[in-house]
């Protein structure tokens, strides 16, 4: 194995291949606080890519309700129980992962630490995951803000990892990472359906197609990316929770790059299970109403600080303005800036793509309308 730098771990780690970063790395930020689990993203993806025979149970994009929901079943819990010692420490003021990644804890004879889901694990997406887990005592009530009752929605696509577990697992080299944008693809001509990638991806975002006997996965809608457009699950997001772009490594972070700003500068968006060691490139703004004892395990040691920063967004016009640009255009915003009360999204040449006021004007309508001499209920 080679030694590579994983900035999300704050250290080097072992990987099957030497470090080879793409010219650009596709990345995204999902704001979990805005997701309403309408599943429009799921259907946008499903109808675009996976409506064929053998793809029936396949959801390249899914939304699950945490803590109980997971698709395929227990994708996260199974791997967490396999991984030993997921401890984080601190060196020179920076968080450093002290445990082992899936590459460093690969059992003898295996390329990575992994497990294989079965048919049943894919059979019930979302079923029962938001049901009450117990009875309600007579006279019980919920205090607001409530501490003990919480859930949130986690939208998931392939993370197009810098160090993909699927790519490392494939003994045939059928999976590759595009040098131009870092999108991870399964070569459908070369794949022989060994399902090693299904076993090796800790996020379980590679799926076996029993009709073609090959494995398939999210392609980040690369035909759209090549045209400067966001993937279908981004463009169709009702809650406007997503922004697509390209991320730099922390040492090359650019403040006018929306992804860099949220991930590296504000540190409000965090990787999903960074301790797995894949350097995933979909970043999440953690839910602010969930006990961080839970979300810290999921998003790493920066969770508490990220929640604090997000809660302070009303006092932070730059952050507020950038959050307002989420879902404001189908085009990929390579740059952004705030001008007064407006957020402006731009292409890589600085040409304006979209212009969004992040403070909407407030109109107060009198209850009695003098013009029509009528009293109205002043509902929003």
């Amino acid at each position: 194995m080679a030694r590579v730098n994983n900035w999300q771990l704050g250290r080097e780690m072992s990987y099957w291949y030497p470090e080879s970063r793409p010219q650009k790395q596709f990345a995204a930020v999902f704001d979990t606080n805005k997701c309403i689990a309408c599943q429009t993203c799921t259907l946008a993806c499903k109808t675009t890519w996976t409506s064929g025979k053998g793809q029936e149970y396949m959801l390249w994009n899914n939304v699950e309700s945490k803590p109980y929901g997971s698709y395929p079943l227990a994708w996260d819990l199974n791997l967490l129980s396999l991984l030993d010692g997921q401890n984080w420490g601190e060196e020179n003021g920076q968080s450093v992962y002290k445990g082992s990644t899936i590459f460093e804890s690969a059992p003898a004879g295996e390329r990575v630490l992994g497990w294989r889901p079965e048919d049943e694990d894919y059979a019930y997406p979302n079923v029962g995951e938001d049901d009450c887990a117990g009875g309600i005592e007579h006279g019980a009530s919920i205090d607001i803000p409530h501490q003990m009752a919480w859930f949130y929605y986690l939208a998931r696509i392939c993370n197009h990892c810098t160090y993909p577990g699927c790519l490392a697992s494939c003994p045939r080299g059928s999976i590759y990472k595009r040098p131009e944008d870092g999108i991870v693809l399964v070569d459908q001509n070369r794949c022989r359906g060994y399902q090693e990638c299904v076993r090796g991806c800790p996020y379980k975002k590679v799926f076996f197609n029993p009709m073609t006997s090959t494995s398939e996965k999210c392609i980040a809608c690369y035909p759209k990316i090549e045209q400067g457009l966001s993937p279908q699950c981004f463009a169709n997001c009702i809650g406007k929770i997503r922004v697509a772009g390209f991320i730099n490594t922390p040492d090359k972070a650019e403040a006018d790059n929306p992804i860099d700003y949220l991930v590296h500068i504000k540190k409000v968006a965090l990787p999903l299970f960074p301790q797995f060691g894949l350097e995933p490139n979909v970043y999440y703004i953690p839910p602010i109403h969930v006990p961080t004892a839970f979300t810290r395990q999921m998003f790493g040691p920066g969770t508490d600080k990220a929640v604090e920063i997000y809660r302070n967004a009303p006092n932070d016009p730059d952050l507020t303005s950038l959050l307002g640009l989420f879902g404001s255009t189908e085009a990929i915003m390579r740059k952004w800036k705030r001008v007064g009360d407006k957020a402006i999204g731009m292409d890589e040449n600085g040409k304006e793509l979209v212009n969004v006021p992040f403070k909407e004007p407030v109109h107060i309508r009198p209850a009695y309308d003098k013009l029509y001499q009528i009293t109205r209920t002043n509902c929003p």
Partner: protein, 280 residues
Amino acid sequence: MRFVTSLTILALLCATSCNKVQVPTPEVNVAQVKEISLDPNAAVWDAVSLHASKMILQDLVEPRLLEPSTSEVMVKAITNGSEIAFRLEWLDESQSDMPGPRHFIDGCAVQLPSKVDPNVPAPQMGEVGKTVEISYWRADWQAIVEGRADNINAIYPNASIDHYPAEAKPLENNPQAQAETAARYAPARALGNRRSGPRDQPVEDLIAEGPSTLSPAPNAVSKGKGVKTLKGWAVVISRPMPAGFSAATPSQIAFAVWEGSHIEVGARKMRTGWVPMILK
């Protein structure tokens, strides 16, 4: 233990395809016959000498198989001068021929050097500049050839499907549009991945120059047929006679077996080293 296994297989062979116990030969002797049969139960196989090939774990390259399964494969070989056929039989009580997540398929393969030469390639799928030719039989392809439908209900009988775009009402009288729409949602088939489409043979032709280099052979030339026996599989694989192979110039052959229920797939397999192959 291996001796007991050999006796078991020999007894089974005796019960299924011959009238007397055969003593295995240390090499694969290829008998010359008038006609080749792809039927493992055909009489042509009865009088052919038997080779019992000991199998070893593929534990050289990751992912490795660390726990042994199939201990040996019983081999017979015949030729009609232009075609050569191999009959492989091994123990595997479970029948694994349904693809799916964590479902793996029973299979077997024969491997020959591309050139008949005393300086053989590495037995582990050849090496750079020394290609091997592989004929690979799979139980699911056998089921498809024998009529199992190419749809999800053949695998999951109770599956309920709302709609496939290729079966939309406006396309129902336009087979070409249906095929084009179906191909959009089956990229492996659209690209011509021979592994992914409907099949007319249960055997696939492959070439390799070492581990991880397995590729489709330029032409599909192998044929075959497998039948489930009481305790395992009996499979016949037929392919063109290797150029240069004759009574005066023997060659080498190697075998591999995958037991699907034992999570054997790809590199996770039981294999043999090279075995001498002699034309009788």
